[in-house]
Amino acid sequence: MNVRILVVDDHAMIRKVLRRHLEEQEGFQVVGEAGNGVEGVEQVRLLQPDLVLMDVSTPKMDGIEATRRIRYEFPQVKVLILSVYNTSDHLQRAVCAGAGGYVLKELAAEEVGIAIRTIMGGCQFFGAELVDHLQNAEG
């Protein structure tokens, strides 16, 4: 059974490559796309995906807020955050909003598939590099 995924990112090109990257892998099905947070929430209501691949910085409603609403309305829908920011603040906010994982965009190619499977397996995913980085930052 495929994991039904909704991709939310304000950049069409990012959505496009993500779709291709995910659909290339077995077990993933991109059921929809959204260009901002508000649209993302609506698409979740409409499509009821298993997982939302959410960019942090989205217009109209940022990814964190959209995640909070989705998780509030549809607790069964998992959310994986994609972000260019590697700070603990971003991570902490994402987790607090209900995200199941946090992947840095530059590592998306390596980590997105693993992260989705981990989350769908009922666990949380934070990339090794991110964790290392945060541990170093915390000193």
Binding site: R20, V84, D89, H90, K105, E106, G139
Partner: protein, 810 residues
């Protein structure tokens, strides 16, 4: 002259003094003599009184003796009645004859009836004479002799005294009395025996003060009346004294009176001595003494006159002698003064000539045929000449000046003319001139000790001239400074603030007239911040100088303008004064304010630019790199299936490179414009930046920011974040620190951001900072703080780290 007058006065005074002394002594002697005479008279008076007392008492005693004998007879032979009356009366007659002045001798019975009487007595009746004494004898068995008060004998009509004794009857009772009478006249005779002077008197009185007898007899001498009772007697009698001596005046003369109360009879005796008698000798002495004193006075006056005249003659002679003597003394004194002056002059001349400070040259002038001075010969010079002029003595003495200094007559100063005039006409001169041959400034004093010669005393004043010149230049420089067109200069008393002097620039700067400023105005009156101005004076008191970069002063028209002040303190004419160089920096402040606005605008523009670039990086480059990375991964997967080897490796390298670029872009984004600042606020942004900073620099960073720290205005957040960034960058670059602490807090309306490190610190006034990036960074931090409505403070100390503190009061 003076001494003669003085002697004459002394003589007059001496004579007068001696005469006065003689008069005083004579007076004293006479007073003493009088006192002695009076004292003698008192003694005489007392002795007379006593003698009279004893005489009368003796007479009465004699009568008493007879009475006692009769009493014995009567008591021992009780058979009186048996005797023959005639025998008894013959016995009485025989006793009576022995009595002094006895009138009669009678015996009474106990009823005072006369039972026997002496034969010579007349027939007077059978009653006894007087009853008072009889009653006393009858009533008092122990009664002794009784003397009656004077009574008048009815037979003889004489005044008599009754002298009586009692005798006992055979049964021991009162038998009667035996009595005799004594005529008072008898006492007159008795009194006549005594000498009490021609004017003296003795009076015998009864106890009721009636005069009984007097000698001389009353009326026999003029002015001596016994009748009136002396005023003192009654009181003396009442006082109970038995005798007393007193002085009284009466009858125109002084009298010494002695009063005696007789012990055996109720009689008083008063002895009165007149001063005419007892002072007669004294008066004689007084006359003689007066004559002697008068003679002495006359003699002394005559002698004094003679001495005075003699003195006057001597005085006149002495005057002449004194005049001659004075003149002689004056001549001698003048001579001595002149001699001393001469010696002093020689001494000075020698000292002058020997002194090493002044060159001295003695010269003789050389004149041409017309008498015009053309040269002079140096006769002698002192040792100092060699040292000061620099020519040896032997090369100078005896030579003409034109030989010593060729061209001397053509020097800029006409020395020969000046010295020639002094030598020929006398007098003296003093001048200073630059002496070209030796290149010296010389002060020359010249005078002529004798015709055609002159002496010069030369002092090298080159140093002083140079000093004067330096001073003149210094003064000139000072004047240039004081009169400068830029800095106002004010000098005022530190104690009172009263203005002492100001320059033109200051007058122009403040708009006051110079006279207004110097007429008692205080320096503080020019300041718009009076307290700060007074504190400045205290600061200068401690440190003697100060620099104030900005202070606001007030012009006469009330307008306030910014000034820069350099101040200093110094002593002037014994007063502690302060000067201030005041620079009107209105233009500079205006320019700085313009710059500040420009800088702040730049900061805003920079922020906008950063924001734009950051957005570009995020929205475009960042996303594109993400897409690129995914695409490269996709390609890699495709290639891995079909090819392998180098191409895959190259593709993998490209992917890694893409990731690196992504990380760099992310860091650049954070650096340019932290997304957290807008999204999560200042606290999150600082924490995030601190994380990155820690990773980048390896320094330990402690962030103390409350989780619930409120959001600030975007302008404040960006300003504080940028300041934190700049401060942390400075720490990384310069501080050599190991720990940085960032504290952000808000208490009430005060917001504080504090960044502290434990690095090497620095001196904030270090000028090199102004030229480095750090210095510029500090300026930007300050501008950012002010742009956010806050203040920027930097404190640092060498070796003690640095603290940046931003405070915003909302």
């Amino acid at each position: 002259m003076i001494s003669i007058y003085r002697y004459r006065s002394l003589i007059v005074f001496g004579f007068a003094f001696c005469n006065l002394m003689v008069i005083v002594l004579a007076w004293h002697f006479l007073q003493e003599s009088r006192a002695q005479h009076e004292q003698y008279a008192e003694v005489v008076s007392q002795n007379l009184g006593k003698a009279i007392d004893e005489s009368i008492s003796a007479a009465i005693d004699k009568v008493d003796l007879s009475l006692r004998a009769l009493v014995d007879e009567l008591e021992e032979k009780p058979a009186w009645d048996g005797r023959d009356k005639d025998q008894i009366e013959a016995l009485l007659a025989s006793y009576q004859r022995r009595l002094p002045g006895g009138e009669l001798l009678e015996v009474t019975d106990r009823q005072c009836r006369v039972i026997y009487r002496s034969s010579s007595t007349g027939t007077r009746g059978s009653d006894c004479l007087g009853r008072d004494h009889f009653q006393v004898l009858r009533d008092h068995p122990d009664a002794g002799l009784q003397v009656s008060t004077p009574l008048v004998d009815p037979i003889s009509r004489h005044q008599v005294l009754v002298v009586a004794r009692r005798f006992r009857a055979p049964n021991g009772g009162f038998g009667g009395m035996v009595y005799s009478t004594m005529r008072v006249d008898h006492f007159n005779r008795l009194l006549a025996q005594f000498d009490f002077g021609a004017n003296g008197s003795i009076t015998l009185r009864s106890t009721d003060l009636k005069p009984l007898a007097q000698f001389p007899a009353s009326g026999t001498r003029q002015g001596q009346v016994a009748g009136p009772v002396p005023a003192e007697l009654p009181s003396l009698l009442r006082s109970g004294v038995r005798r007393a001596t007193y002085r009284t005046t009466g009858g125109g003369s002084e009298r010494i009176v002695t009063f005696h109360r007789l012990p055996v009879a109720p009689l008083l005796v008063t002895v009165s001595l007149a001063s005419e008698d007892y002072l007669e000798q004294w008066r004689n002495d007084m006359v003689i003494t007066g004559l002697l004193v008068g003679s002495f006075l006359l003699l002394s006056v005559v002698s004094a006159g003679a001495a005075f005249q003699s003195m006057s003659r001597i005085g006149r002679k002495n005057e002449k002698l004194f005049e001659v003597n004075e003149h002689l003394h004056q001549v001698i004194d003048e001579y001595q003064i002149l001699a001393e002056e001469l010696r002093e002059s020689e001494r000075r001349y020698s000292a002058l000539f020997a002194n090493r400070l002044n060159a001295i040259a003695h010269c003789r002038i050389i004149a041409n045929d017309q008498g015009q001075p053309v040269d002079f010969t140096v006769l002698s010079v002192n040792q100092a000449y060699e040292e000061i002029i620099g020519i040896r003595k032997r090369d100078v003495e005896g030579r003409n000046i034109s030989e010593i200094f060729p061209g001397f007559d053509s020097l800029g100063f006409d020395y020969i003319g000046v010295f020639g005039k002094i030598a020929q006409l006398g007098g003296e001169t003093q001048f200073e001139a630059f002496f070209e041959p030796t290149q010296q400034y010389l002060s020359i004093y010249a005078y002529s000790p004798q015709p055609d010669e002159f002496t010069t005393i030369i002092t090298d004043v080159t140093e002083r001239k140079k000093a004067d010149e330096a001073l003149r230049v210094s003064e000139s420089k000072f004047r240039i400074i004081f009169d400068n067109e830029v800095y106002g200069i004010i000098i005022f008393e530190m104690d009172t603030g009263r203005i002492i002097d100001v320059n033109r620039s200051l007058v122009r700067m403040y708009g006051y007239r110079r006279e207004e400023l110097l007429s008692g105005m205080l320096a503080f009156d020019l300041s718009a911040e009076r307290e700060a101005s007074e504190l400045l004076v205290q600061e200068v008191e401690k440190s003697s100088s100060t620099f104030v970069p900005l202070r606001y002063h007030r012009k006469k028209d009330g307008s306030v303008f910014p000034v820069e002040i350099v101040g200093g303190a110094y002593q002037w004419n014994g007063r502690r004064v302060m000067f201030k160089l005041v620079h009107d920096i209105s233009e500079r402040v205006k320019a700085e304010e313009g710059l500040k606005k420009y800088a702040q605008r730049l900061i805003v523009q920079e922020e906008d630019l950063r924001k734009e670039v950051s957005r570009e990086l995020h929205d475009d480059i960042g996303q594109e790199l993400t897409a690129l990375g995914l695409n490269l991964a996709y390609i890699g997967n495709l290639l891995a299936d079909r090819t392998g080897g180098d191409l895959c490796n190259t593709l993998e390298d490209s992917r890694q490179l893409t990731k690196e670029i992504s990380r760099t872009v992310r860091n650049l984004m954070v650096e340019l414009r932290p997304s957290q600042l807008e999204e999560y606020g200042l606290g999150g942004a600082i924490r995030s930046y601190a994380d990155q900073y820690r990773q980048r620099t390896g320094l330990e960073v402690l962030v103390d920011i409350d989780e619930n720290f409120p959001r600030l205005t975007p302008k404040q957040e960006i300003a504080l974040f940028r300041i934190t960034q700049e401060a942390l960058n400075n720490v990384a670059k310069y501080a050599l620190a190991t720990l940085v602490t960032i504290t952000l807090s808000q208490e009430g309306d005060l917001l504080q951001l504090c960044i502290t490190d434990d690095g090497q610190g620095f001196t904030p006034s270090d000028e090199s900072l102004q030229l480095t990036g750090s210095g510029w960074g500090l300026t930007i931090m300050r501008e950012r703080a002010e742009l956010a409505g806050g203040t920027f403070r930097l404190s640092s100390e060498s070796g003690m780290g640095t603290t940046v503190l931003i405070e915003i009061r909302e």
